[in-house]
Amino acid sequence: MSTQSSIRTWAWVHKWSSLVCTVFMLLLCLTGLPLIFHHEIGDWLGNHIETPQIAHQGPLASMDALLASAKTKQPGMVPLYMYREEDEPLQWVISMAKTATAESGFKQVVLDARTAQVLGEPPVEEGFMYVMFKLHVDLFAGLPGMLFLGLMGFLLLVAIISGVVLYAPFMRKLAFGEIRRQRGKKLKRLDVHNFLGIVILSWALVVAATGVINAWSDLLIKYWQFDQMSQMIAPYKNLPPPDRFASLQASVQVAQQTEPDMQLGFIAFPGTAYASPHHYGIFMRGDSPITKRLFKPVLVDARTATLTDSRDLPWYLVALLVSQPLHFGDYGGMTLKWLWAVLDVITIIVLWTGLMLWWKKRHQYVPDIRSRITLSEAY
């Protein structure tokens, strides 16, 4: 058992690490709740674009036809990324903006993969879910906001670990799961805080840690560009940007031939963070539950449609990609989403009871020495 002074140190660590991050964690839990169901909420709000039922024989539309369709719909804009949603395999989404490095003013064009017809343009950067998303990810403050929330997540990890240490002295005389209901609000609140906190320990640790990793995602991508991309595109260093672009379809075929056992995941267009000014970044993926999340970049010269380089992802991007589902809870169907939601609500209760324990103790006035001793023993 820990000594009195070390308990006091841990209590100090627990109090201050939680106090600093609690308000932000409440915000993250509340905004995270609708984000768990962002897909379902999008469907419910009528933002989901249906794939029309048509009799279609023969090959799918070429990538070039899809791109041309999107460009006709949004003239004057450049493509950024091209990807598919898992539940709509017959749709391609092309995101676009005024320039490849734009940080706002995005558009999305949804296309029929069979006919290259435009199916719709879902709203981006607006609406309730966008506000929830921005509050959750960066507080509308870009990279500094992300890193700040990452720091708050780190404090939460410290609070969780110190909370586990403090669980022991509080539980010396209590059975597991015992909640003292008859002896005042304060003890009940303390027991609920300790009990719920220890029960959701693993989930809270996983979601907090993966959230911290995600807060670093922009910096990890930047480091990847510096670490790997710069080596892969070294021969292009002093070349002017391409004056013409080769066929996207031909480029995708080059990537497919390079990685015959993988399938097309998404495409990053020249100039974006996942490509180079001279290349299509064609990201291939595997088929198993794990490898379908792990992309392998194939860099194809955007001017000649020839292979430049292809490398496996470094460990830090593998860590990022594996950590994402563990944060979002989107990898086990609706059951897992509901579990995520309930565990999120339990986390809110733990945060709230913790905050109230501190607040009430702050205002506590104990007149006589006997009840003060009794209370401090209980605490």
Partner: protein
Amino acid sequence: MVTHLFMPNKQLSQIFFWPLLIAVVSMAGLIFALVVDDAREYLANAAIAIPVLVAVFFYWIYPLFSRR
């Protein structure tokens, strides 16, 4: 004969037995759900649900019995 008026001090191993068991099983479920895509996913989800079930049991169900 009453031997203990209050519960005697518990050992660390007693204090952490159930919390650790729940933590290990739910962590295994979280990771297992990531690597399987078939019926075994139900097993993983069940493991992840354990903290929720334990919380519901001790908060709402257990007091109903202990009050008697």
